[in-house]
């Protein structure tokens, strides 16, 4: 088993799991999840082996693992030209592979517990709706409810289907990461888009879920069609989509100098912009961010995996991968940086006003992705990758943790039987640190990592590097925006932690919350481990006291992906101080404000504009969705097709009809029929009428006539022949 073959095989187990579950083992829940988790385990194993091997290669960027591409599409001039596809493991894909494999495995495992494997089937559970609980006979571990029965969480009716879908999704992500060309990257991209749709709409019988799924698909598709154009453009100009060939000196130079004819951009600039629009959609940047918060309708593992760790990261990954191309044009870079920084701040401001535990995290994801994109826009390549990896770990952790919290809350809801209480509303929580300790501590670690708590969390190192890079290269606007966003991040994170875990339980449901099973808490612990330690592989060299103790492995390794190894930024104390200030300040401030807030009414930050996400959904609906539907229905279908085109066609029918009638009534009938047809008949009739007078029936008259005629003929003969 060569490394090359192993790389090709990594995406295979999850997709095989998908087919097996869909076609064969659908009915058997245990078998399905075994196949799925087993597949994730196999892919994880393969990824780790490849990763370790990749670590051992000198100058991996110049000598990536991957081997020869294979012929895929026959195309073009001669009968032997092919479009080739292959696999590539260079430093970027190696580190990405690492976190993808881990997070995928953790989430697969988590899903077993999340969907309540081992629990009985629900009382009124339908496929298509979330499980609602099963009533079991009294032998409970807690005091029974007054009725004498005990309601426990029930197993998800569509259990196997979930694992099939996340298997397909994992396949898509692996394909994307391991591709050596843009086309198969796009294939993985879209497959993930499909799975996102299927999984957001997992509980399809809920109208909100169904609509959220469509919203996600369509919004990302807007980005995707632009990206497709970019790919087609790139392919036509560069003649190839394989990364190594695109990033060859000559090709880049050609692309940078050809004008594209649009907005004064060079070809590279326009391609970069088009590809970036794909990322705006996929990574939920402004203005295509509206789908991600609604995507929280999906089960929490979905939110964790797709909408935190992997799919949305794919957008950033693609920009990182295409960095040598995108960085050629300063306008495109400026656009990238602007969108990233703006989104980071914009989303953070919305997050402070959200009450749903998952929504906060959703906006947080958007914001953090903005950080990464802004980093790329200002050229901070390694920082962006670093943050990508650390964010994947701690955001997955946070989402899984929130899922654990929700599970605990649902336990309480089932216990009290009061289904009006929203288990996801943070204002219904409180004091959960005592009831769910493992969840609490891991969530705390994740939250601190997100906020950038110094030294001991990975988020600090990655975020600090972005800020340092922005400051060091003079991008002040970006620096300030990101710093403010970081402050808000810490603030709303602490708000979230305070409201959820600290203080006292605000509702009875929170009082009856319970810790979740090991299948859910083990992944939390493992991810927490990474959230703490991963930062230490990228400590900058000149960091006070700690710098230089361990080499900045990350910078060396990932920096090797680019043809020109990026310089580490000069160390300056200002960004470091800013980081410390915003992180610690935000956390403290958040705790101070929210430790005394007990309900939404008391929360002064529930400003309607923020709470309603700046009304973007409403604006989009009014400006795009409804007019599109109106355009489709009224203009195209009713007016153009039915009234105009069919109207013209329908002229032919009556016109032909009238023409036919006219010909019949004005020509056929009078002239042909009456004049010629009837006319000749009438004439003949008249003649006959006149002639029949001869037929008297009287013999003597006949004889007389015969005689006369005979004499006449005789006279004629005599005169003509004989005379």
């Amino acid at each position: 088993m060569t490394t090359e073959l192993l790389i090709w095989l990594i995406p295979l187990p999850p997709v095989l799991a998908f087919f097996l579950i869909v076609l064969l083992t659908n009915k058997n829940k245990a078998l399905s999840h075994t196949i799925a988790v087993g597949a994730a385990l196999l892919s994880w194993l393969g990824s780790m082996i490849v990763f370790v091997q990749a670590l051992g290669v000198e100058h991996l960027g110049e000598h990536p693992l991957g081997g020869e591409p294979i012929n895929w599409l026959p195309l073009g001039e001669s009968v032997d030209t092919y479009f080739k596809i292959g696999v590539l493991v260079d430093p970027l894909s190696a580190v990405t592979l690492f976190f993808v494999a881990w997070t995928v495995l953790m989430i697969f495992l988590y899903s077993v517990g999340y969907h309540n494997f081992g629990q009985p089937e629900g009382d009124h559970d339908h496929p298509g709706l979330p499980p609602h609980g099963a009533t079991v006979e009294e032998h409970g571990h807690q005091r029974s409810s007054p009725v004498g029965k005990h309601v426990v969480p029930s197993i998800e009716p569509m259990y196997s289907r979930f694992f099939a879908f996340i298997g397909l999704f994992a396949f898509g992500m692996f394909v994307l990461v391991l591709s050596d060309n843009l086309l198969t990257l796009f294939v993985g991209w879209e497959i993930m888009g499909l799975c996102s749709y299927l999984l957001i709409g997992f509980w399809y019988a809920k109208p909100s879920a169904r609509d959220a799924a469509i919203k996600a698909f369509i919004t990302t598709r807007i980005g995707d069609v632009f990206m497709l154009l970019g790919i087609a453009y790139l392919y036509s100009r560069a003649g190839t989509l394989t990364f190594s060939e695109i990033f060859a000196e000559e090709t880049l130079h050609t692309l940078a100098t050809i004008p594209s004819g649009v907005l004064g951009l060079s070809a590279a600039g326009l391609i970069g912009l088009l590809l970036f629009i794909g990322t705006i959609g996929k990574s939920a940047q402004f203005p295509l961010h509206v789908w991600l918060p609604d995507a929280m309708e999906g089960p929490t593992p979905v939110s964790a995996m797709i909408h935190a760790a992997t799919m949305v990261s794919a957008g950033v990954y693609m920009v990182i991968r295409m960095f040598p191309l995108i960085s050629l044009d300063p306008t495109t870079m400026a656009v990238v940086a602007f969108i990233g920084a703006f989104t980071a701040l914009f989303a953070a401001t919305i997050a402070v006003a959200q009450n749903d535990i998952k929504r906060v995290l959703a906006y947080s994801t958007i914001s953090q992705l903005g950080f990464m994109i802004a980093a790329l826009g200002i050229g901070a390549y390694v920082a962006a990758v670093f943050h990508l990896v650390t964010h994947a770990f701690f955001k997955a952790l946070l989402f899984l943790g929130s899922g654990s919290v929700i599970h605990g809350m649902e336990h309480g809801v089932l216990h009290t039987g009061n289904h009006k209480v929203d288990p996801q509303d943070m204002f219904n929580m409180g004091g959960l640190r005592r009831k769910m300790p493992i969840t609490f501590w891991t969530f705390l670690i994740g939250g601190f990592a997100l906020s950038g708590f110094p030294i001991i969390t990975a988020g600090f190192w990655s975020k600090d590097e972005i800020l340092a890079d922005a400051f060091g290269h003079g991008h002040t606007a970006v620096f300030v925006t990101l710093a403010v966003a970081a402050f808000l991040t810490a603030f709303y994170t602490m708000r979230q932690i305070t409201l959820t875990f600290l203080g006292e339980a605000r509702t009875k449901e929170a009082e009856h919350a319970q810790e979740t099973p090991w299948t859910m808490t083990l992944p939390l612990v493992i991810l927490a481990f990474f959230a703490v330690t991963y930062g230490w592989v990228g400590i900058p060299e000149h960091f006070p006291a700690l710098g230089g103790l361990v080499p900045n492995w990350f910078h060396e390794f990932v920096g090797g992906t680019l043809a020109e190894h990026p310089e580490a930024v000069e160390f300056s104390v200002w960004p470091l101080l800013t980081s410390l200030f915003v992180a610690l300040g935000g956390l403290t401030f958040g705790w101070l404000v929210y430790r005394n807030v007990n309900s939404a009414a008391e929360d002064r930050l529930q400003i309607p504009v923020l709470k309603n996400k700046y009304y973007f959904d409403e604006i989009y609906d009014r400006v795009f969705v409804k007019p599109a539907y109106w355009f489709a229905e009224t203009v195209i279908y009713k007016f153009m097709d039915q009234s105009v085109i069919d109207g013209i066609l329908h002229i032919f029918g009556p016109v032909t009809d009238r023409l036919g009638s006219a010909i019949r009534n004005y020509f056929d009938l009078p002239v042909i029929n009456r004049f010629f047809g009837d006319g000749s008949a009438n004439v003949t009739y008249w003649f006959g009428g006149k002639l029949r007078a001869v037929q008297t029936g009287r013999i003597q008259q006949y004889l007389m006539l015969a005689l006369v005629v005979f004499i006449g003929i005789g006279a004629a003969l005599y005169f003509f022949l004989l005379a």
């Binding site: 037929q695 008297t696 029936g697 009287r698 013999i699 003597q700 004889l703 005689l707």
Partner: protein, 102 residues
């Protein structure tokens, strides 16, 4: 001998009288009489031509005898027809037998 023309004139006259009778008599039997007259005039003609032509040739006489036979048959049939018509329509007036009218 009398000249041939006397016989011919005589036959012609008879023929004309017969024709006139056929054409103008009301009674069907009278019409038949007229026809007989015409046939007999033909006979006279035939006999005359025989006598005044080659006497040795029998043709004229034979022809005249055939005419006799035909005339007789014809009268028989004719009278039978007239009687049949009379039985149906109770008339022998030729003008009233006009069922073949248009």
């Amino acid at each position: 001998m009398v000249p041939l023309s006397w016989y011919l004139i005589f036959a012609a006259a008879l023929f004309s009288i017969g024709l006139f009778g056929v054409l103008s008599r009301r009674n069907a039997v009278a019409i038949l009489l007229g026809i007989e007259l015409m046939l007999n005039s033909v006979n006279i003609n035939l006999a005359a031509f025989w006598r005044y032509g080659d006497v040795l040739q029998m043709t004229g006489q034979v022809f005249a005898i055939i005419v006799f036979a035909v005339a007789a048959a014809e009268v028989a049939v004719g009278l039978a027809l007239v009687i049949s018509v009379y039985r149906r329509r109770n008339t022998v007036v030729a003008d009233e037998i006009n069922m073949m009218k248009w």
